[in-house]
Amino acid sequence: MNNANRTHKKNRSILRTLLLASVLMFGFGFALVPLYDVFCRITGLNGKVTNTGPYTPAGSDTSRHIRVQMIAVNNESMPWEFKALTPMVSVYPGESKQAAYLAYNPTSQRMVAQAIPSISPSEAAQYLHKVNCFCFDQQPLNSLESREMPLLFVIDPELPDHISTITLSYTLFDITSTQATSTPSTSTQANTSTPVTDSSQPNNIGRNTL
């Protein structure tokens, strides 16, 4: 009987340990979200630009010119007209460059959009600094309104030599419906951002990926 009792106790303790392991693995599934984000930030994979805000380059490299191609894409069912003002600019590393995109809302309603950027080749992502970008903010446009949306960027002089062209792509998403359900000023963030964000730039959605 004593033996049976001991077995019973040990079964319980194995049960407890393994249940705890399952709960931890459930947590690990969610931990993969920030881990994945951190991994992409460190390695610059996935074409995500994480260098945002004021930046002073460590010098400039006028010996070469980098072609920066600007691409505008509408996400499915996004009716806005959306295009780059200058489809291609040429800059030297270290030069601050101003560019702009043009958006026009042809519908009869007020709509809110969010632009999601992507860089190709992804290796270049960590050398691109966005001082300012319309993709930092949501873009509301009234019916038939159009707007020039600015972008200010610098390319790091450390950019490897073999990269001579960088493609900067923006996909415009219609997020009007997520705005309608919340009061714009307060709960935007809780509504649309991932749980893993730092709070250096309030009221921007998806800023951790810019």
Binding site: M1, A4, N5, T7, H8, K10, N11, I14, L15, L18, L19, A21, S22, V23, L24, M25, F26, G27, F28, G29, F30, L32, V33, Y36, T43, L45, N46, N75, Q114, I116, S122, E123, T171, F173, D174, I175, T178, T181, A190, N191, T192, S193, T194, P195, T197, I205, G206, R207, N208, T209
Partner: protein, 527 residues
Amino acid sequence: MMNTMTKVSHTEHHGPASGLGRWFFTTNHKDIGTLYLWFSFTMFLIGGCMALMIRAELFQPGLQLIQPEFFNQMTTMHGLIMVFGAVMPAFVGLANWMLPIMVGAPDMALPRMNNWSFWILPFAFAMMLSTFFMDGGAPNFGWTFYAPLSTTYAPPSVTYFIFAVHMMGISSIMGAINIIATILNMRAPGMTMMKLPLFVWTWLITAFLLIAVMPVLAGVVTMMLTDIHFGTSFFNAAGGGDPVLFQHVFWFFGHPEVYIMILPAFGIVSEIIPTFARKRLFGYSSMVYATSSIAFLSFIVWVHHMFTVGLPLMGELFFMYATMLIAVPTGVKVFNWVATMFRGSMTFETPMLFAIAFVVLFTIGGLSGLMLAIAPADFQYHDTYFVVAHFHYVLVPGAVFAIMAGVYYWLPKWTGHYYPETLGKVHFWCSFIGVNLTFFPMHFIGLAGMPRRVPDYALQFADFNMVASIGAFIFGFSQLIFLVVVIKTIRGGSPATAEVWDEPHGLEWTIPSPAPYHTFSTPPEVK
């Protein structure tokens, strides 16, 4: 505590309860094993009907029988039901029946939880199947349910799918905990770890895989749930999420999952081949280490499912080589099986036929897997019928054949009767021919570029598709022979001896056939 223990020991030798209540309230590992096996066979037939619907539509080019929307639901539900409803519960059923006997334990470690982990399943699958009758139909986004197909563009029934996955995840985790506790804590005195039968070893490792990855699956469907209903943006690019993240989290579960479906099969085959070759298994300890290495490697190769999403070169290379590394322990296993058969006094009863077919056909599936692991070539093979051929070769003549081999092998022990050998062999040959007719041509049409999960195809693929469809119907209907064999054996047949086969090894052959309702109430001596 002492009181209940004493009470139990007084009533220890009662038989099963009578009536339906026996099945609802049973905590007997043999009853629960039987329930699991019948459940899994039912799901196998339901999932099989969906496969036949797919093959019927693909018999000829053009749309004949079903609409593309319904075709998508068929491919999705076929995959989900076969993976979670047929293959996994079948292995858990075999584990329930055999593990306690093989380690010399009176029952599973946590019998009441055992009852729970089975009875959750019928409800989970009832919920899953009920989606067919809902507005917008059943899930149609493929068994891998990639976001945003399964979030933004999913039919409303996706919520039921999510909860069904939660429930079957809970069931699997409870089953796995039970199996680990039984193996670690309930072994008869003298049954050391390195004396455990290989079926027990492979299941121990599988159970750890289950505990590691089923919660991650639960996590990923929970993220889908909050994305769909609570406004989060885990997988939604507009809100700062990333659809590729879905694929990473899913395949972090998904790749160990494929080993969950094959490791117990390795174990079954490692039991059967020595019996019918009349030799001890060649390289027992290398089998244990190979299984453990496969389990470890399964955690660091998941990205080979995503070679085409746009990875940096280093990523492609790492996951390509890590994947190829798996061929080494797998090769060790195949070598050991062949070496066990080498110069053995082999006979070819039905379990052995299925086991040999397993070794040959699983190796074919493994080699096409090696081809898919070559990252630059994978860009050509990705999402074609070559992939379909590959994973069906490892899952149907791999996992499913091993389950059938196990059922034939242990059926005399369960029922006390020998199964009709001729009918068993007819079942084997029909299945063998059917499986190869179905899946071998898919290699060719895949390499030629036919995409998977599409209800129509270009004319040049017509002949091979017709062959595959004919093979699928042969394979599908020959499973009814299996059903007949099992029912006939339960009802009668020549009485089986305790040993059943010719000097097999293992504790299960020391108890009478049919196995008494309670076995090893006093632990056996293990030499």
